[in-house]
Symmetry: C2
Subunit: 163 residues, 2 copies
DNA sequence: AGAAAAAACTTCAAGCCTGAAATTTTAAGC
DNA sequence: GCTTAAAATTTCAGGCTTGAAGTTTTTTCT
């Protein structure tokens, strides 16, 4: 029955861990944004939407995009709007439901995305170039544990609240 | 002299790793934003600025805040503006330099931040509750390797481009 | 069928964020 | 001392993001 001790050094170390996780993720993200902007005049959100659309050639409804990407509906409206302006996407009527739209990449959009995606993968490989298969697995498993914590084991109190 | 093979499965796995890292970080961040908003009517950027100010009771110049937090000057202008409106911060003239401002937390701001910070640490501990000292260290070291890659060893090609 | 609820979107206000272009003030070079 | 460069900020346009509120269309339930 070891109660949590929020100000223990374990607690502080978890906080530091979170800060490092955030910093790592943010720095890669910033670099990706920079390159998308400088080399392609594009953005990460646009890339994400195009990526979702590229995986589904028949197109996606607005609401499908927002639930896949876990962003708000209103947000998708704006991003798709700009994608359409750029000629990278188009909206089709959904037969039998006049509320909905099916959004698809245009040929130009598909082509542009293919180039972007290839570069993107290269960038990531460059940034994570040090990581071999074992490290990838270890890191991936640890992140998975953060994302989906296993059931709390009430019995085995870790007894690790070293001050 | 093993050249990078961008489309190898190692490359794809690095890409998946990045996606998972991003997802993990984003989901924690989203949860923090939600709680800051719902429980305190505040935001992460405000919290970050207050956190920087709390560590420096004598105050910080605008440019010091932006370089500490790695955000643009213009961005800090707006955040501090709102902090001042809320009575959480105030701006002082810097003697001898009429260009600069020294930003400080008010007493109310310090008090508010102390409460926020305590809650914040508790939230992180809750979200990373599974992680013991060894896991924290392992994860931290791996993230450190992403953040600050060691010198590329030209000699020992990892030969790990398993397709 | 007619009313009410739900679904698919869009619009909007507010805040965050950036890079570029001012502004004001200080420091440097001649 | 004067001119120029540098520094500290602010302003601005453009884009992202959310949650709330509003619109239109479809479904559900009597």
């Amino acid at each position: 029955m070891t109660k949590e001790t929020p100000s223990s050094s374990l607690s502080k170390n978890r906080l530091r861990l979170w800060l490092k996780l955030l910093k790592t993720s943010s720095s890669i993200e910033a670099e990706l944004r920079r390159r998308l902007r400088d080399q392609f005049g594009s953005t990460l959100p646009r890339f994400d939407v195009m990526s979702a659309l590229a995986r589904t050639p028949e197109g996606l409804k607005m609401s499908e995009i927002s639930s896949l990407l876990k962003v708000s509906n209103g947000n998708v409206t704006g991003i798709v709007e700009r994608l359409v302006e750029d000629g990278h996407a188009l909206r089709l009527a959904v037969p039998g439901d006049r509320r909905a739209n099916r959004v698809k990449l245009t040929a130009a959009g598909s082509k542009a995305f293919a180039e972007l995606a290839a570069e993107h993968e290269g960038w990531i490989n460059e940034m994570l170039g040090e990581f071999g298969p074992e490290q990838i697995e270890t890191l991936s498993d640890l992140l998975e544990a953060v994302l989906h914590p296993a059931e709390k084991d009430e019995k085995s109190g870790s007894a690790a609240n070293a001050e």
